[in-house]
């Protein structure tokens, strides 16, 4: 196909696409017409790609999450506040005590590497092909994500085929993933506590920043280097 042929095709296609309904435009050749009609048919018949199972529940759960209230702005100091200072101090102490009591529990990410059925010890060097295993207990909705080299989202639970079924442990849900490390690099799990419908910036740092801006708590696990 010469550049001239291609220009002729483009000119004809443009004439056809701009033609009024039913208007006929002569093709450079019958073969040209047949080929482009076949191409249009193939584009139209690209197979359907069904939406992933469970996504709608995650989306609707995210709608139910309360929007975090903006932090209250500090009020300007007033003269009367000096009179009420002791009272305010007592209230503050009471408030701090209450907040301490209600402080959400920390979430720990348990990470290990398995070579076959054997758990690698801390001194051993993980190899490509080993299983990266991460496990976390969450009090409510949330996500367990695995990143490679802190820049590439590698897998996400729930949703990825390497995720284990969610298990109820006490008053929490255990999310876990066992995924092979398919190439050299650093693998790291993070946990997002809260259903926030988090998007993707493409980097671990960006996703963590987004999650925090939306009011979610984020916990970052240790990095595993596969060589």
């Amino acid at each position: 196909v010469t550049p001239d042929d291609r220009k002729a095709d483009e000119a004809w296609l443009l004439a056809r696409e701009t033609a009024e309904d039913g208007a006929a435009v002569a093709a450079p050749s019958e073969e040209t017409r047949r080929v482009y009609e076949a191409l249009a048919a193939e584009l139209a018949q690209l197979p359907a790609v069904p939406a992933p199972a469970g996504w709608r529940d995650r989306m609707l759960a995210a709608l139910d999450e309360p929007v975090p209230a903006p932090a209250p702005r500090p009020r300007p100091t007033r003269r009367w506040s000096l009179i009420a200072a002791p009272l305010a101090m007592a209230a503050a102490v009471l408030l701090i005590w209450r907040l301490s009591a209600d402080r959400p529990q920390q979430i720990a990410i348990e990470v290990e590497v398995r070579a076959g059925d054997v758990v690698r010890r801390s001194g051993e060097t993980p190899a490509v092909g080993d299983l990266f295993v991460a496990r976390v207990l969450l009090p409510g909705a949330g996500e367990l994500r695995v990143y490679r080299n802190d820049s590439q989202l590698f897998a996400r639970c729930p949703g990825h085929k390497a995720c284990l079924p969610v298990r109820r442990v006490g008053d929490r849900d255990e999310h876990a993933i066992e995924i092979p490390m398919t190439s050299k690099g650093d693998y790291r799990a993070i946990v997002i506590d809260g259903a926030i419908g988090l998007g993707l910036t493409g980097t671990l740092d960006g996703d963590v920043r987004d999650a925090k801006e939306r009011g979610a708590r984020v916990f970052i696990g240790k990095s595993i280097s596969a060589r």
Partner: protein, 212 residues
């Protein structure tokens, strides 16, 4: 050579989901969602819209981004934004067109974000494996799978704006007026994109050894 009619996208093999879920008596599949919206129940409206268009939006995102995880994220963002902005839907055009407008913007955002990465995420062939394939003949299915992968690879070589135009025109069968409303572009610009994209796709398929 005999004159020929404009290339009109033939009906897609996959039926329009909006027509396959039990349309209400008045024939407008969006009516229940619009009614829910009129009652102020945006969550129900979004759930109904998701039932109608989740596959359309996801398939479109998947072909734009070529990554199932990112496509699912954009799918979720689209409907969360729809929930937030449904009150602004003025009723001009269809909810499907309005959703596709959001979808385009979110896909473009995701593409821009991905360009910041030094390297792209791994191709996930599971999308092609998960694709609905209705061909009964195994040999034909293998050949069709190769053709689909080749065509999707060639689509990926187009710029995002051109790829969007081609998919909206041929995959979803929209008119240039509808595409123009979604992409905020003139019909003439879109027609030029299509006229240039088809020879590029043809040449790409030929390079990959796929005969049309």
């Amino acid at each position: 050579v005999a004159p020929s009619d404009p290339i009109v996208p033939p009906p897609s093999r996959a039926p329009d989901p909006s027509l396959s879920r039990g349309d209400p008596p008045d024939g407008d599949p969006e009516r229940p969602a619009l009614d829910a919206l009129a009652r102020g129940d945006r969550k129900l409206a979004v759930a109904l819209l998701a039932g109608l268009y989740e596959d359309v939006v996801y398939a479109y995102c998947h072909r734009m981004l070529r990554d199932p995880l990112r496509a699912e994220d954009v799918l979720q963002q689209v409907f969360l934004q729809a929930h937030r902005d449904l009150g602004d839907f003025a009723g001009r055009g269809s909810l499907r067109g309005w959703l596709l407008g959001i979808t385009n913007n979110r896909c473009l955002d995701a593409i821009k974000a991905s360009k910041r990465l030094a390297r792209r995420m791994e191709d996930d062939v599971s999308a092609v494996e998960n694709a609905v394939d209705e061909s009964p003949d195994p040999l034909e299915r293998v050949d069709q799978g190769r053709r689909v992968r080749a065509l999707e690879g060639c689509l990926d070589e187009l710029s995002p704006e051109v790829r969007m135009t081609v998919l909206l025109r041929f995959q979803l069968g929209l008119s240039y007026a509808e595409i123009g409303a979604i992409l905020d572009a003139r019909a003439g610009t879109l027609q030029q994109r299509v006229a240039r994209a088809l020879p590029a796709l043809k040449a790409c398929l030929e390079r990959k050894g796929v005969a049309l």
